[in-house]
Subunit: 257 residues, 2 copies
């Protein structure tokens, strides 16, 4: 069954999701974004119309995907006439019920991944978490999700928020540590790229093991000599020194459990 | 030119390195470990003799690889007669000169990777950092390294220590955050495995981009609503709440630079 979708938002997530749905034969009938370049770029990609005017959003779509920043919901959504169609957002931490003023059919379609425009992703491998206001909408969203992903799960808003917090640690904070590592190297004119095989292997290990099974390094061995050498090494970077100390202790404490 | 190697230590690093050298036609003539199972397991793998008695270590090897815990150097090494042969350690943070009492030929052979016995690694992709007490030993180590790795670099002890600190952030601390993410999920009975595609993609992104180019999430957007929701979510896990707060601020501060 081919459906008609409208995308509110044309950022990284919207681009990858619209593209995945389009490639399965669904129609993206319209893309809305306040930024014309974003709207037109995505529209072209998925053979859709586009608009930057919320009053021009069509009310003939079967499902509206809200893929804008969480903080823009209250500004953008009240201006749109959804004609009581199914309205779903794609956010980790926004409760489903924040949509109930806009339609009597609403839900959540949350793909757990970090999307960048520069990289294509294999949607099949991305876990998608679904929530809906009734069984019928839930079923529809599960079916749509199952067309593009092999891992579809129903999850309520509270647990989805927990999932989002965990994802911030596993992705955003991890990426920040990649950055810190690069900063530390830069202080001695060593290029970030030397870390790439290590970074990849660290992520590969936990694809088949649990993180505790494969931890290595001075903290898990509680090698105080090395830890102290490293803390001294970071004396010119007090923020990183503090993080090194805190996280080494955290690793050691958890090891004892 | 096939060389004779002796391994002091039979842990993860020794196993992978001995294996890589063996596969290039070199002879591993002996493996020493204080743990008989480790010594015999590695010896069998690379067709070597083994011993658990440091007095029995042969003095006929061309190169001795010291692949034991940094903290065990001072206990193990004084007992060995290296016959003035080339002695190299494989540690990130131990200065090369810590070997000078044991032989007049010494150096460092540091592969930057996290090694687990459970996983095989492609040594070709592992950057190896070399240091030696003279040009001749340096050349020998570079040649040996270049047989098994595509990325061989000469690096002094001070910069190698910096590299090791960076690696702790990019690997051990990252892995700890995978663990924390898993802990957070466990509190709501969600399995760790849902994070695996996200973890892999986060590492894949920085294989071709710099971390700052691909950062996503609430902190980089400075989405205070979500950050506050997440901090509230972590109220029962004060250690993680504190980390969330600290690292979100660090991301935001660096973003402004």
């Amino acid at each position: 069954m081919n459906l008609n979708f409208c995308f509110i938002g044309a950022g990284n997530l919207a681009t990858h999701l619209a593209n995945a749905l389009f490639s399965k034969g669904h129609h993206i009938i319209q893309v809305f974004s306040r930024t014309e370049t974003s709207a037109s770029t995505l529209a072209k990609l998925v053979n859709a119309e586009f608009t930057t005017n919320s009053a021009e959003i069509v009310n003939s779509a079967d499902v509206y995907f809200i893929a804008i920043k969480d903080s823009a919901f209250s500004e953008v959504l009240p201006k749109i006439n959804f004609g009581n169609k199914l309205v779903v957002h794609c956010s980790g931490s926004v409760s489903m019920n924040e949509l109930k003023n806009y339609s009597s059919n609403f839900g959540v379609f949350y793909p757990l991944q970090t999307f960048s425009k520069q990289r294509s992703v294999d949607f099949k491998k991305i876990p998608v978490f679904i929530e809906a206001n009734n069984r019928e909408n839930e079923e529809l969203l599960i079916n749509v999700a199952a067309e593009i992903s092999e891992q579809v799960t129903v999850l309520d808003s509270e647990r989805r928020r927990t999932l989002h917090v965990a994802a911030v640690f596993a992705c955003n904070f991890v990426n920040h540590f990649y950055r810190i590592a690069g900063d530390i190297l830069k202080s001695k004119a060593i290029e970030f790229k030397v870390l790439r095989p290590l970074i990849l292997e660290t992520a590969m290990k936990v694809q088949s093991f649990e993180p505790t099974e494969v931890q290595t390094g001075p903290a898990v061995r509680f090698d105080e000599n090395i830890i102290n050498l490293h803390l001294a090494e970071l004396s010119g970077m007090p923020e990183y020194q503090q993080l090194y100390d805190t996280i080494s202790k955290s690793i050691f404490e958890q090891q004892k459990k």
